[in-house]
């Protein structure tokens, strides 16, 4: 087939991009080459709109072993151990085919982690759906949850935490972000950089089929009414094969056969071979007739662009082919020597004894387009003046009931009970807490992990929202007694070609970077998902942050359930009464405008580190961060989980009861301490200039607010646990 500009445009390339290809090659590409360019130069693989801004992220730190740019980030967790982790989006495919889209998202991210030599030890996910009234929401939610469970459960990796939200802006574009943590010895980490000439290039795993062709291009475009036609671009996952691939790869990795290894994810064989060659500054030669194929008569174009799952590309040491083959035979997986490394610095493909592609690797990588797109700065919205009489007309009990049973606050048990969260025998904090926690097998250490996003805050003011999400994960880690170490980010936005969306991206990234730098909490991995829009309507900006922390002695882990009657409850951090963009404002007052709560990084760090110090000194019986729905929502959850009541009183501030209990000011935690420790704890808080309010004590089975409002724990439970279950029936 002859290639021309029209065909290039059908491949998602822009006219000037096509011209650039012809100029770089000094000729017209053939169809296979065009396919390769389109796969490497799309937004998903090339980061052409985001690269320039991602450079600004804070990525360095003492604990960072590997920052962004590899299959996943790696941090030092002491004693020769390292933690490999990353989050990735699978938004577009999940909307088209929720089960397979979500399942292969989970499969893909696990592959990224075990490609580096790490055994996956935990999965997390952040999933976002349209309005609960929208006709597609229920089926999408059901399909995505089944898909995540279907893959993760079969792999035998526990899903320990997650986040689910509903918002109208996701009606036409749901978000499915999957995160995996893996454990590896510091001196056994594997990278994707090829090295040495004439080294055998090995293909292992599943056979190549026609599924997922152009998956990455599909994920680099907006949706329209013909979206159903894109179903063939969604890959089909086989978690059983991946489990075998995991065990086989780890077995091979225990020896010294591997020079470089790269999983075949987005853009399959194309991106994996090119990335390995590019990082090693080498060429690569592949005989496509040697690639194991599932279907007959596959063309070079199809083989190169297939996104069939559960495949890996490995550069081996010479002479290790037999050892490697034996391992893959044992696990019943395909194994083929398909090529070798060369000094041409080109990717050369052969098929039926003919050369079918010959492209300099640098034209595909270094010379890929990079855009400094136009973007629009957001103004901080004006604060709403809320009439105080409105607050007086609200009853705490009714308001709390509405908030506890609202879709974004209610218990997500219906979801996480479908995920195996206890396999591997090291899960010591299950989903439903502030962070999931797993022990580092056979040690006293544990890893805490959390995933968060706050699209509403980001939409109201991206810079503040970006900072807030980072802080939220930091607080979730501190609340379980973990020292936060690093984050991974998944940046979900609308079209970068729109100034508003691009502005949201740029400013969220800036916010994330500022917070990460201040908190010494670097970004070590991540991905960008643009074009989350349908018929010109984009999602709210949704940067998702996955935070990871270390608990040195897992016996010191903290949970949020109230422990003992007569213990004292303190609020750490100051409550100013910020109502704009709070749940109270949005679902009770029907007010969607105004600025998000301010993020004060000094207080955030100071409050968090002081609390960690209190935990270290064994003063803290339970802790929970204050987020959506304010103090009263947080305290309700502590009551529900501990099956205990609480008697609380608003401190004598200028703000009224509703403002105090429902405000979403940042940097706050609720803690439970024994009365005997109050003096010492107060001393430490005062010494560190941390504001705190003593608001009450734990009692039996009832919540009593300011002597007048009373609710039983059973009432709180039914508000919180019933909504999702009855919605999904």
């Amino acid at each position: 087939m002859l290639v021309n500009e029209k065909i290039a445009i059908e491949h998602g390339l822009k006219s000037d991009e096509y011209k650039k290809i012809c100029k770089l090659l000094k000729r017209t590409p053939n169809i296979t080459e065009l396919g390769i360019f389109s796969a490497m130069w799309n937004e998903h693989c090339s980061y052409k709109s985001s690269r320039i801004h991602l450079k600004k992220l804070h990525t360095k730190g003492k604990k960072v072993i590997q920052g962004p740019g590899e299959n996943a980030g790696v941090i030092d967790i002491e004693d020769g151990d390292a933690l490999v982790f990353k989050i990735e989006s699978h938004n577009h495919p999940s909307f088209i085919e929720p089960y397979q889209g979500a399942a292969t998202g989970v499969g893909g991210i696990m592959r990224d982690v075990f490609t580096m030599g790490a055994r996956p030890i935990a999965n997390l996910n952040s999933i976002h759906f349209g309005s609960t009234q929208h006709k597609k929401t229920k089926n999408l939610l059901r399909g995505v949850v089944h898909g995540i469970g279907g893959y993760g459960n079969c792999m035998g990796v526990p899903t320990i935490a997650g986040q689910t939200s509903f918002d109208r802006s996701y009606n036409g574009n749901i978000l499915v972000n999957a995160m995996t943590l893996g454990l590896v010895k510091k001196d056994k980490i594997f990278y994707s950089k090829a090295a040495g000439l004439n080294k055998p290039v090995i293909y292992v795993g599943s056979k190549t089929g026609r599924d997922g062709i152009h998956g990455a291009s599909m994920a680099s475009a907006s949706f329209d009414e013909k979206i159903e036609e894109k179903k063939p671009t969604v890959q089909v996952g086989d978690p059983f094969t991946e489990k075998l691939l995991l065990e086989a790869c780890l077995e091979l990795m225990s020896g010294d056969s591997i020079i470089a290894i790269q999983d075949m994810g987005a853009a399959g064989l194309t991106s994996s071979s090119i990335e390995m060659a590019s990082k090693g500054n080498l060429g690569i030669e592949i005989n496509l007739n040697k690639v194991p194929c599932r279907e007959t008569k596959m063309t070079p174009y199809e083989i190169m662009l297939s996104e069939s799952q559960e495949r890996m590309l490995i550069v081996l040491e010479n002479g290790k082919e037999e050892i490697a083959k034996k391992i893959f035979d044992k696990w019943n997986l395909d194994f083929a020597v398909i090529g070798k490394t060369t000094n041409t610095k080109n990717i050369e493909l052969f098929f039926d004894n003919e050369q079918v592609a010959n492209i300099p690797v640098n034209t595909l990588v270094e010379n890929s387009p990079m855009y400094d797109r136009k973007w629009k700065k957001s103004k901080l919205p004006k604060k709403n003046k809320i009439n105080k009489t409105i607050f007086k007309s609200l009853k705490i009990k009714d308001t709390l009931k509405k908030i506890l049973s609202s879709p974004n606050v209610c218990s997500k048990e219906w979801i996480w009970q479908q995920y195996d969260h206890t396999v591997m025998g090291d899960t010591i904090q299950k989903p439903g807490g502030d962070s999931g926690v797993v022990r580092v097998h056979k040690t006293d250490k544990a890893i805490a992990a959390t995933v968060d996003s706050s699209a509403t805050y980001c939409w109201a003011h991206p810079l503040t929202g970006g900072k807030q999400v980072v802080c939220e994960t930091w607080r979730n880690l501190i609340s379980v007694g973990a020292k936060p170490i690093a984050v991974t980010n998944c940046l979900n936005f609308g079209s970068p070609e729109k100034e508003e969306n691009m502005g949201e991206f740029v400013e969220c990234v800036q916010g994330i970077s500022e917070a990460c730098k201040y908190l010494d909490y670097p970004v070590v991995s991540g991905n960008v998902s643009f074009y989350n829009e349908t018929k010109d309507i984009g999602i709210k900006p949704t940067p998702t942050i996955g935070g990871v922390g270390l608990i040195k002695d897992y016996k010191k882990m903290i949970t949020m359930n109230f422990k003992e009657i007569d213990n004292i409850v303190l609020v750490i951090g100051k409550t100013e009464g910020h109502i704009d963009q709070s749940l109270l404002s949005r679902i009770i007052l029907n007010e969607n405008n105004g600025p998000p709560p301010e993020v004060n990084l000094f207080n955030e760090k100071n409050n968090g580190l002081t609390l960690l110090n209190l935990i270290e000194k064994n003063f803290i019986q339970s802790a929970h961060d204050v987020s959506l729905g304010g103090i009263i929502t947080a305290i309700s959850k502590m009551c529900i989980k501990g099956n205990k009541g609480v008697q609380i009183k608003k401190p004598k501030f200028l703000i009224n009861e509703i403002e105090y209990f429902f405000a979403e000011d940042q940097g706050r935690y609720l803690i439970e301490i024994s009365p005997k420790d109050l003096k010492e704890v107060s001393k430490i808080l005062d010494k560190n200039s941390v504001h705190y309010d003593e608001i009450g004590k734990i009692i039996d089975k009832e919540m009593i607010i300011d002597q007048k409002t009373k609710l039983t724990i059973d009432e709180l439970k039914s508000y919180n646990t019933n909504w999702l279950k009855s919605y999904m029936v």
Binding site: F240, L244, Q418, D420, H421, T422, M424, G425
Partner: protein
Amino acid sequence: MKSSVITFPGSNCDRDMDVALTKFGFKNKMVWHNDQELPKSDLIVLPGGFSYGDYLRCGSMASKSKIMHSVINYAKSGGLVMGICNGFQILVESGLVPGVLLRNKYLQFICKNVYVKVENKENTFFKNLDKKVLEFHIAHNEGNYFCTSDQLKEIEDNNQIAIYYCDQNGNTNDQINPNGSIKNIAGIFNKEKNVLGMMPHPERMIDESLSGEDGSIFFKNLLNNIK
């Protein structure tokens, strides 16, 4: 005491079981499905997971693997065999215990703590257990035990029901039945009571930091009974 845990392609609770058995004093060996012979063992465990991806039917392909010939012979000669979750499904498929395991009634995977009532203590698995109700943990998609009414009569007549799903106080009823199992059955024996298949995972309940500690009670008791 010696134990062996079989690893099938797709097993994923084999390591957890190894950790548990070793913790409570078994000398455990891992055995590959393609091996023909079992090492000398006092207990064989078929662990949980997704052998052969649960394709065809859960446990069906694993039940035909090489090592299963030896396991079946071992069981028929009176050796102790325990199948947990997918291991239970393999036992059912290999005919070592009666009945079948269907998909859960609400068509969802379920991962949570449950209570089980131990009915029959006249066997090596539960003899001398000083608790009647244990808190265990389940994680499965196909644990809905089913058999014909004739089979059920036979199972009941032979006292083959090992454990029932129940509430904290040992009451069995539909409300606490997590998966739709007939008669709330969570585990059964073969006629001779030397083969036990059960859905719950005692190996996930072996220290205070996990979901609970009743698994420890089970394993300690089991070891003492075998000694």
